[in-house]
Point group: C2
């Protein structure tokens, strides 16, 4: 005898109830899945049938980009456009499609402040362009892209070219906790994000796709997720994900305000180190002004802030220290109990400079190290104070070592 | 202040520790992941670096099949072979590759007992054949395929054809709890399975690939999983999965014996219904003998057992009732608290007869219903007794209704 005095003789379907089964356990699972789908759709201002659950952000981005390219029925190659600071799950997917001769690609460079110029995107659009993919907020430098403005340019092009339609996709993985996710207001056709940046949400990805958008599936298999994503849905994780997402939206405004303050406190502390420690001579000059950003001096080391200071995620602090390897800084901080990163974890540990930092700073060398501090729900002012103190100690120590 | 008196400032990487991060949380996560990988490799008699964690069985099968086809560097199409009763994640992937002109496919029919003839597989192999994919045990009718014999035929072909190499892949999703998973003994190059059929294992897929096998990745993205599967690893689920898998292997022998007995008790009860209820006149004649399998008579309804009785998973019972819709039987049983299924959940609810049952019984019509009872860790003799009783009641009721 099994679960709740019922006899479960469907172990071959799955150990927990499978939403595709037609017995009462399956029907119950199906109802729960439908409710979660509706809740997630609500956050994006979409409809239930527009939500595709996947295994994570990487799969969601792949499904949007590969799915659009594979759906192409025209002659020659479909053409797709993105920027040079996208997450690897977008940028590498573009390169994969190019290499496999499934698409022609254009990669637009962002400006020195880490923000893309919508006009430059528009300039790349041609008759066979089917998709523009621009991330909502960058995972390394936290810059927020002008999604609404890019959408406007694309809309304009689409209006003037009745026989083609350019889709607009945004990778909103880093935006989910802080920015507006309403697809109508953003003007996007496809939006992907995941649970991995949401506390308690687990490993679930979402691709929201406007009903009119035609995608091809990547995997062969069952008929789940509107036929676009085969495989039994990860119901327990999807339920956790939806609940955590709702909570995130509820605290979004308050958390955004709190973290913006903390982040700016972090920046201010960085520049004020000189008041506490005579070794440091940092100044605010040039910061936030991409044309005039010289590296700031800390101790005898210089540092510069990466990415626009205003159009930036409330939880992101990213700085470059010339001539100090990133990994050394991360490990020194880790030894002091502080966990931060040098760049995207998806590309970490290879000892190379971040391609995002290189994209916004042409003078950077492979020896220059960057640090990303990303704040979250548990971060306090005390944490920042402790981190600044540790950073000051490490830089002083390294200075001696270098001298 | 955050987790365990450490300051976590890497929220942009992920809310839980990311095995790709180089700080101490990341290093700790990396160690745990490496341990789980080693444990899983141990079960398959493989090496850690041969284990690729995916989101589930569907993705594992896709990565094996699409991955092999995409790695093809020869002229023309690569050729791949499978059977007509594979899981949709294999069969539909074959059809997808065919449709997209990425592969030429051969689908070999199984015999009436649901088992494929290894000689027929060998007959299909040609100069451009790169892969044979045959499931270890069928998800609907539970038949166990002669993997070792097929491997022998392929080995033989490979020895005689020095300039080509045919890979052998098996989908072992349904086999994981009961059958030998040692890849060396099985003679396979690629083996996929998932956590969804293992109690407490969660949604994790594995593809084990012999080191010499060259695959191309499906997703663009980060460098995780030997560069073959981008996306942050689902560490919490992978740890649960590995633990549950170990336990499964420990109880495998005992559970196999126990369930084989229960399954055979189920079959015996089915045939002995006539002793308890004069309405039933079932007999054992013809069962297990594919050439002589006539439908057995239950009440005024006939029934037949699907799939070989001997080479069969210890937990699978599958019967066809001509002229009674599957869904009706599933719902009637569900109303009595018994959860079973009509066919693969991945293809359920469309009201069509199962393609697996059609493959082994050419005389079956769309109106004939099949039931799959799959037993598991909680199943008892009492459950079987109750199920037989319920089935008898339902058939009697339906007989009156039909009369």
């Amino acid at each position: 005898m099994a679960k709740s005095n019922k006899i479960y003789l469907d172990y071959a379907a799955s150990f927990s109830a499978n939403p595709s089964s037609i017995h009462s356990f399956g029907v119950d699972a199906k109802k729960k899945l439908a409710r979660a789908r509706k809740e997630v759709a609500g956050v994006l201002g979409g409809r239930s049938e527009e939500i595709i659950f996947t295994s994570g952000g990487t799969e969601s981005n792949n499904l949007a980009i590969q799915g659009a390219a594979l759906a192409w029925r025209g002659k020659g190659f479909p053409h797709i456009i993105t920027t040079n600071i996208e997450h690897p799950s977008v940028l590498e997917t573009f390169k994969l499609l190019d290499k496999r001769k499934l698409a022609q690609i254009s990669i637009v460079s962002v400006e020195k402040n880490g923000i893309v110029d919508p006009k430059k995107i528009k300039k790349e659009i041609k008759k066979n362009t089917i998709l523009v993919s621009v991330m909502y907020a960058n995972n390394e430098i936290g810059t927020i892209q002008p999604i609404r403005e890019i959408a406007k340019e694309i809309r304009h092009w689409n209006k003037q070219n009745l026989f083609s339609y350019v889709l607009f996709h945004t990778d909103a993985v880093q935006a989910v906790n802080y920015l507006d996710l309403n697809m109508e207001r953003l003007g996007v056709d496809l939006l992907s994000f995941s649970g991995s940046k949401i506390e308690g949400a687990g490993k679930v990805g979402v691709l929201c796709k406007k009903k009119s958008v035609l995608l091809s599936k990547i995997f062969g298999g069952g008929d789940q997720e509107m036929g676009l994503r085969p495989g039994t849905e990860n119901l327990p994780e999807i339920l956790k994900f939806s609940k955590a997402l709702q909570f995130t939206q509820k605290v979004k405004e308050k958390e955004t305000k709190r973290l913006t303050k903390l982040r700016d406190y972090f920046f201010a502390k960085l520049f004020n180190l000189k008041n506490k420690n005579q070794n440091f001579r940092a100044g605010l000059a040039g910061v936030g002004d991409p044309e005039n950003r010289g590296p700031e001096k800390i101790s005898d080391f210089y540092f510069s802030i990466n990415g626009d200071l205003k159009n930036r995620l409330p939880n992101n602090v990213n700085i470059t220290f010339p001539n100090i390897p990133s990994d050394l800084l991360v490990i020194e901080l880790s030894a002091r109990g502080i966990m931060c990163s040098s760049k995207s974890a998806c590309k970490s540990g290879d000892g190379k400079a971040s391609y995002v930092i290189k994209a916004i700073n042409k003078n950077i060398s492979e020896e220059d190290g960057s640090l990303r501090f990303s704040l979250g729900r548990d971060t306090t002012k005390k944490d920042i104070d402790y981190t600044i103190k540790a950073l000051s100690e490490i830089l002083t120590k390294l200075k001696k070592w270098y001298d």
